[in-house]
Amino acid sequence: MTEIRDFFQRFFQTDFSRTKRIKKCFEKVNREGRIALMPFVMAGDPDLKTTSEILLALQESGADLIELGIPYSDPLADGPIIQLAASRALSVGTSPKKVLSMLSDLRGKLSIPIILFTYTNPLLSIGMEEFCKQASRAGAAGLVVPDLPLEEADKLSKIALSRNLDLILLVAPTTPQQRMKTIAEKTNGFTYLVSVTGVTGERRKLDQKLATLIKQLKEVSTKPVAVGFGISEPKHIHEVRDMGADGAIVGSALVKRISNAEKGKCALEAASFCRELYDT
């Protein structure tokens, strides 16, 4: 029975609402002359029930896409704020399966694209096929795997696409131009531009090289470019928009705001932070 249901779900998802959701989202935002606002939240911090409230609150407050972090014990690309959020999430028993099940329960309510942010090991532990199947069933639109470089990405990208999931690849300030071109060709949905040579975390100023990087990426590809790592204030969003970026990912600043919120007020705080960012 589940197989039949799964087939029909996939059939309908494939042929109607589910294909290229990220691409369509960026097209809409572009038509409206805006930059896409892409908040990041750590699933399970402080608990999954709160996370689901936060996701809905962000959607209502103007988020265009949401990056949803699956907590991992050894997050190499993350600075202290997101590391601690992952530790808190793990300490209350958050697992990839529980995150996907929470997401699944939001189907019908959450209409903006959800991008799962996961490290390689939890993904491999479930298995690429199985992870993509479950992620797709839960309604996710894409995947970001920060420790899976281009060389290792082909296989996952194919599997993900077969489930209508975009595997989004990252470009860093240290990436040479030819390689940048290859990454931009192979990424799906958009190119994730890491704004600084470093890990995630709040920063006061944007990297000086950023404008050049966005320009270079735009020259080699027509795919949308979203900038992340260090974007923490409304003025940063202003700046990256003026540099030509299509999306701005705000992680640590929001995660910190949520972690500082009073008990029961996480979703409210997230929503007001999101609105502040958008008052630009």
Partner: protein, 416 residues
């Protein structure tokens, strides 16, 4: 304790060109699972190493310093009283020790630290970072940085800093700054993650001297190659001592650098058996162990695919061993490969067995081995009864035990 092999060792899967292959893999293990920011630096490092090994001035400088500064070649020592101890009715193997404990700073670690420091200088990088567990690799790195006037930052788990206060002071005395790591379990695993994060941030000015045959390609190969002098000397010394290759090589395995250093030279000699000994901690049936090779399943940690201690959700588990140097939930990818093709056998011994071996070797040979090294000695109990007279065993005596005397004293008191 036998492992299940998925294939058999043969000329193809033992060839050097597949260890690693062109994409940095040993079979399915290895690779480069790191943030994009580091990929160009890893390419640069691979190329710098390739160039260096073809440059006679680099090789000459390295071997000159290995001789005059590190104190190589280290002796191959015949452990007569240990040999006698394990004789059963006149039967039993002869036991030799490759004395890496006699190197400057007291362990094999400096072979690699020195080589990588020279590479960093070639690449024009003046800031060095490293991770350390017990502090041996940290001390070796701080030492070579002092020798070359390089800035040195060592990442060390806060818990390990407490356990290894003496080594922390040694590093500071050598001019290094030691950064306490409080994230996760505050041990070697987290120190390594923090060192990688530093590298991601400062990659343009900094070289990361990784201390084991772990991490993303080219590190497993690079670190192995700097340690392979251990096996090369051993071959020559065995030839001089008894006119042939040894029958069995034994070494402890945490990340696996001293073992790879000894094994590498002999991988193609099928008559040479090899055993890697890892830490069973309080027992592999408890969850307090570091027996990655016997209990782990395939995963990705610190940039490489290898066997890994992890829970059902792919979260990395805390390892446990009395020896801080073996207290690591991962293992170098080449070891996972050598296990899979059946070339090397891997076994585990407990904290208690290691402690017992440490005392035995101290009292019979006047050599206090490091707790890590003591794990290799402990396997003699199991293997010697199976071996005959005339068989030659070489144990890599990878480090000396001065750093461990506090831990040992604590343990022995609690047992009295």
């Amino acid at each position: 304790m036998t492992s299940t092999f998925s294939s058999k060792p043969n000329n193809d899967n033992l060839a050097r060109k597949v260890r690693p292959n062109q994409s940095g893999r040993f079979g399915r293990f290895g690779g480069q699972y790191v943030p994009e920011t580091l990929i160009p630096a890893l390419e640069e490092l691979e190329k710098a190493a390739q160039d260096a090994w073809q440059d006679s001035s680099f090789k000459n400088e390295l071997s000159h310093l290995l001789k005059t500064y590190v104190g190589r070649a280290t002796p191959l020592y015949e452990a007569e009283r240990l040999t006698k101890h394990y004789l059963r009715e006149g039967e039993g193997p002869r036991i030799w020790l490759k004395r890496e404990d006699l190197n400057h700073t007291g362990a094999h670690k400096i072979n690699n630290a020195l080589g990588q420091a020279l590479l960093a200088i070639r690449m024009g990088k003046k800031r060095i970072i490293a991770e350390t567990g017990a502090g041996q690799h940290g001390v070796a790195t701080a030492t070579v940085c002092a020798r070359f006037g390089l800035e040195c930052v060592i990442y060390m788990g806060k818990e390990d800093m407490r356990r290894q206060a003496l080594n922390v002071f040694r590093m500071k005395l050598l001019g290094a700054s030691v950064h306490p790591v409080t994230s996760g379990t505050a041990t070697l695993k987290d120190a390594t993650s923090e060192a990688i994060r530093d590298w991601v941030t400062n990659v343009e000015s900094t070289h990361y001297i990784l201390g084991s045959v772990a991490g993303p390609h080219p590190y497993p190969m690079l670190v192995r190659d700097f340690h392979s002098i251990i096996g090369e000397e051993t071959r020559r010394q065995c030839n001089n001592a008894f006119g042939r290759t040894p029958d069995l090589l034994m070494a402890c395995v945490g990340g696996g650098s001293n073992a790879m250093g000894l094994f590498h030279e002999f991988i193609g000699d099928k008559s040479v058996k090899m055993i890697g000994i890892e830490a069973a901690g309080e027992g592999i049936q408890t969850n307090k162990h570091a027996a990655t090779m016997t209990q782990g399943r395939t995963g990705v940690l610190h940039g490489a695919m290898s066997l890994l201690l992890q829970d059902q959700d792919g979260q990395v588990q805390e390892a446990h061993s009395i020896s801080a140097g073996l207290d690591y939930p991962g293992v170098g990818p080449e070891h996972s490969y050598l296990k899979e093709i059946g070339r090397v056998e891997y076994v585990a011994v407990s904290d208690k067995e290691a402690l017992k071996a440490l005392q035995l070797v101290s009292q019979l040979e006047g050599i206090i081995p490091a707790l890590e090294t003591a794990h290799a000695f402990a396997w003699l109990e199991k293997i010697c009864p199976k071996l005959k007279k005339g068989q030659e065993i070489v144990i890599n005596c990878s480090g000396r035990g001065d750093k461990d005397v506090n831990t040992v004293a604590e343990q022995l008191k609690s047992e009295i």
